[in-house]
Amino acid sequence: MADDEIILSELSDDELVLQMHDDLYDGLKEEIEESVNILLERKWTPYDVLTKALVAGMTIVGYDFRDGILFVPEVLLAANAMKAGMFILKPLLAETGAPRMGKMVIGTVKGDIHDIGKNLVAMMMEGAGFEVRDLGINNSVEKYLAALEEDQPDILGMSALLTTTMPYMKVVIDTLKEKGLREEYIVLVGGAPLNEEFGKAIGADAYCRDAAVAVETAKQYMLRKHNAVAG
């Protein structure tokens, strides 16, 4: 064993959480799994492990991706590590009744098979306390509508990576309008070739440039929704 090797179980809670942020940043899946289990053994609530260790760590990864310090491969490794931690926490979160922020249906649009960004958004939304139904890739307007009817979510999220497929988001939004359903949902869109102007032009509520922005935008809209209901 190297002299400088860190024994996770010997770290204090604060040190361990900071170490988890580092380990997430470095995409160290097994270390994250071990640390999650250590915190649970120390009687941390699953919700605190999720938010203070995993989500906070992944947020740092998100900021550094946005700022061009980290790139897609590093983000994917970090996401894999976080996913492993969430896999341990998910059943426990359900048992312990963590706060729910709202419900989201998300999917990549018809003709598009790209799901890396969409998967990151789904994971970070779950981490932020949203219940997420992930429709996967290549979703027709009919599939979106069926899921909306079935799940009655607060938010519809649509993703596209291609210039050729992003216009399909407008098809979905226009169909919602035709059916008088548009105002029932907060519609968030994202994907590499999109921009704010496109989001506005197709009638989405917001364009989200990355997973962290998606989470913050979703939270803001949920707050407005609650305030509107309360008002």
Partner: protein, 211 residues
């Protein structure tokens, strides 16, 4: 003399001498094809300069780079023609070209205009799970695909990137057995079925012929 692919990827192609009345401002990934078309057709009225092909790794940087190059060269030419398709800019490059008063190649990307935009659009429903490579991208596979995606360091990420793809289509601009073999090897490395389709220069040739 045309620089090697690595120079075209990282630095582009500088304008060597002002001879023609039209300047083609192109992506470095198209330099070989455009120079071949020029030579084959005797298009001496067309000069060529290229931006680095690796701008495609950051498509949001393409419009500003094109703008800077148009402004640098436009006074010396009767026309500047931008040899880029939309290339992942989400319409921003087209808008930039309109603002600058210059034209560009139609279509979403080079895979489409090499196939022919109409033909590519017809294939879309059946082929949306295809990953495309052109001659340039086959030669530069490691620089454009393998290394930027981190697959040299983390091969375990391959299926996160390519798990939803079903096949690799090599759109061949030229008949080159060596490139064919390399493209097939790229498909193997990505875990995809392989298909070679000869496209030639497609809409690139017809578009440049009109200038």
């Amino acid at each position: 003399m045309i620089p090697d692919d690595r120079s075209l990827t990282e630095r582009g192609l500088p304008l060597e001498a002002h001879q023609g009345r039209v300047l083609l401002l192109a992506c470095g990934a198209l330099a070989h094809e455009i120079l071949t078309l020029k030579r084959m057709n005797g298009w001496d009225h067309l000069d060529l300069t290229c931006l680095p092909a690796n701008l495609h790794l950051w498509p949001d940087r393409i419009p500003a780079a094109v703008e800077a190059a148009v402004l640098e060269h436009r006074d010396a030419y009767a026309q500047v023609f931008v040899v880029y398709a939309d290339c992942g800019t989400g319409g921003l490059l087209l808008q930039k070209c309109k603002d600058l008063g210059v034209e560009m190649v139609e279509g979403p990307h080079c895979y489409s205009f090499f196939e022919g935009n109409d033909a590519f659009a017809k294939l879309a429903d059946d082929e949306f799970s295809a990953f495309y490579l052109t001659d340039f991208l086959v030669r530069q596979f490691d620089a454009f695909v393998w290394r930027p995606m981190g697959l040299d360091r983390h091969p375990e990420l391959r299926d996160m990137y390519f798990g939803n793809y079903t096949k690799l289509v090599y759109q061949a601009q030229t008949n080159d057995a060596g490139l064919d073999a390399k493209a097939e090897d790229c498909a193997r490395r990505l875990g995809l079925a392989y298909e070679r389709r000869f496209t030639g220069y497609g809409d690139l040739a017809t578009t440049l012929a009109r200038l």
